[in-house]
């Protein structure tokens, strides 16, 4: 009897450890080669860490530190202010992970990406950060705005300006009002809070 119990214990332990090791092997085999966890990167997106705002660019310019920053221009974006940066390269968005781009990024203190659309620059910076190039950031807004309103005629009211901003009174266009019964709680997807139930009992 004791012998059977011992064998069962060994067998169960083997199965348990085998299942865990198999799962770890599958994870290692199938997981794509990222250097930054999705949750960590998402946190950077939420906090806006990936986007360089006008005030930050202006500060670098006023402290004469823009020379230490390399610039990546996406998809042939026309940008007069490029000469104020330390170095520059032009790539297409589709080639952002190419060897040419990656070798340009190496040994650079900071790299800013600028595109015709802020979202394209963000996507490029996100991909590179995911691959471990944590010195890469996206420039907010577009080349025209940066040329005119940041590098040449900077006004403090533009300090936080990004493309992601309410620009219209949407209710006026849609014939609606904010007073409509659309409480946030009833329309929002709950974020998975644990349901607290009092535990009871023992073994």
């Amino acid at each position: 009897m004791q012998n059977i119990n011992d064998k069962m214990l060994t067998g169960a332990a083997l199965l348990f450890v085998g299942a865990i090791l198999f799962a770890l092997l599958v994870q290692w085999w199938l997981a794509p080669a990222y250097q930054t966890d999705n949750a960590v990167l998402h946190q950077r997106l939420i906090t806006g860490e990936l986007i360089v705002k006008p005030w930050q660019l202006n500060q670098l310019l006023s402290e004469d530190k823009l020379k230490n920053v390399a610039l990546v221009l996406l998809d042939g974006a026309k940008f007069e202010g490029a000469k104020k940066f330390g170095s520059k390269t032009e790539v297409s968005a589709a080639a952002i992970l190419s060897q040419h781009t990656l070798s340009f990024l190496k040994n650079k203190e900071k790299v800013y990406i600028l595109a015709g659309d802020e979202s394209d620059a963000l996507a490029a910076a996100w991909l590179l950060q995911a691959k471990g190039y944590t010195n890469v950031y996206a420039l907010a807004n577009n080349p025209d705005f940066i040329d005119k309103s940041v590098l040449n005629d900077y006004k403090p009211r533009w300090a936080q300006t990004t493309a992601e901003k309410a620009r219209y009174d949407y209710n006026r266009f849609f014939g609606t009002s904010a007073a409509q019964p659309r409480s946030v709680g009833s329309f929002a997807v709950p974020t998975g809070q644990p349901q607290v139930k009092k535990a009871a009992g023992g073994c």
Binding site: L45, I46, E164, A166, Y170, V184, G192
Partner: protein, 406 residues
């Protein structure tokens, strides 16, 4: 990814059903393991049978290692696990009462039920005694309450209280469990008059010991989480998708579908903050703020959406951010509104569209924009839809749907 009920994977109404099924399984295993025998259970106090201690230690370290490694693999949200709150006085009093009950009756609550079910008379008396105790506690709760609720210490974790890291604590507990196996086996052999096995421990323990220690050490080597989960999409594939213009929904498509609910196959996900969504939202849209877009509930909502998920924000930026994070997490077939709400307003209301040629499609587009603008501006496109409600995930309710057409 678990826990399954709090995250909406399993209907909470089935909670008790699963408890019943798991309870049956637990009872069966207890009975098969000999735990319906009070002599076997009481043996731990007299030194002739330590199987109870060994079984519970085995269960503890198996669960401990399993939870940590499942958490690493992303199968389990460890932070969502319920931690029993610590009320110091009730733990001490309850522990003493249960210990006495265990020695006197030869059962603990769970094993007494198992034994009673298979017809053990002593267990039936034990269960009756337990029920009387529960009844008295309920009747005199006011007297017991100061002890029951006394010295609340919160949801404590042992390793936090001891100031240890999680991995160190796991290793220490595994070592303690293995030491308990060795010591109890030697005591047991001694009390039962059996020849004590040579060496530190019984040879049959070598394999399980090595495996459990190995897993505990593995937790040391592994980082808190892997840099990428096995079901994530690679950067190269994401780049290919980013290059695909088909991932955008444009102004005209969205306007047409908002005005023709019967052909609206979109599941509009507004990723702006909740307060912005409360100020204005597109008809039929649901709000999943960018911050919550990769929570298990949100990913499940996107995967099981009744229509084509389309991310919307003020511009394309936050919608793109949501698209990147959710696509990498393995959600297929996501789209976003090109230009966002600002682009939609500019195309539809601010900049009057003028047909570029006399071609039918251009003429149609101009007429459509004019009519759609009027429908939206008068509010006719936003009136509440009273017919069959749109199918949306249980956790999310839509804003009133659009009616009419043009």
């Amino acid at each position: 990814m678990g826990p399954l009920i709090p995250q909406g994977f399993i209907n909470p109404d089935l909670n008790l059903f699963f408890a019943f099924v798991i309870g049956l399984g637990f009872g069966y295993v207890l009975e098969q393991g000999g735990f319906s025998n009070s002599r076997k259970l009481a043996g731990v106090f007299y030194g002739y049978d330590f199987v109870v201690l060994r079984v519970f230690f085995t269960a503890a370290i198996t669960a401990l290692l399993g939870i940590q490694l499942f958490g690493y693999l992303g199968w389990l949200e460890v932070d969502m696990l319920y931690i029993n709150p610590t009320y110091l006085w009730s733990i001490i009093a309850g522990g003493v009462i249960m210990g006495f009950g265990f020695i006197l009756g030869g059962f603990c609550p769970g094993t007494s039920m198992v034994a009673a079910v298979i017809g053990k008379i002593d267990a039936m008396f034990f269960v009756i005694g337990m029920l009387i105790g529960i009844f008295l506690f309920g009747q005199f709760y006011n007297i017991f309450e100061p002890i029951y609720m006394g010295s609340f210490l919160g949801n404590l974790l042992v390793y936090d209280s001891l100031g240890l890291s999680r991995d160190v604590f796991v290793l220490i507990l595994v070592i303690i469990a293995l030491a308990a196996f060795i010591i109890t086996r030697k005591i047991e052999d001694n009390v039962n008059g059996l020849p004590v096995a040579k060496g530190l421990f019984h040879p049959s323990y070598t394999g399980p010991f090595a495996m459990m220690l190995g897993l505990a050490l593995l937790l040391f080597v592994l980082p808190q989480r892997p840099k990428a989960a096995w079901n994530e999409i690679s950067a190269d594939k994401l780049l290919e998708k980013l290059d695909d213009p088909g991932r955008y929904v444009d102004t005209d498509e969205l306007a047409w579908k908002l005005l023709h609910p019967q052909s609206n196959d979109l599941f509009i996900v507004d990723v702006r903050k909740a307060e912005d969504f409360a100020q204005f939202s597109l008809p039929g849209s649901v709000n999943i703020p960018l911050a919550d877009i990769i929570t298990p509930v949100s990913l499940n909502t996107l995967r099981t959406a009744s229509g084509q998920p389309v991310f919307v924000s003020y511009s394309t930026t936050d919608a793109e951010a949501a698209w990147l994070s959710a696509s990498r997490a393995g959600v297929e077939n996501l789209k976003l509104l090109k230009g966002g709400l600002n682009g939609f307003v500019e195309d539809m209301f601010v900049n009057q569209y003028v047909a570029k040629s006399y071609e039918e499609s251009e003429q149609f587009r101009q007429r459509f924009r004019t009519d759609a603008r009027q429908m939206f501006t008068t509010g006719a496109g936003i009136k509440a839809k009273t017919a069959s409600p749109a199918v949306v995930p249980a956790a999310a309710k839509p804003t009133p749907g659009a009616i009419g057409g043009c």
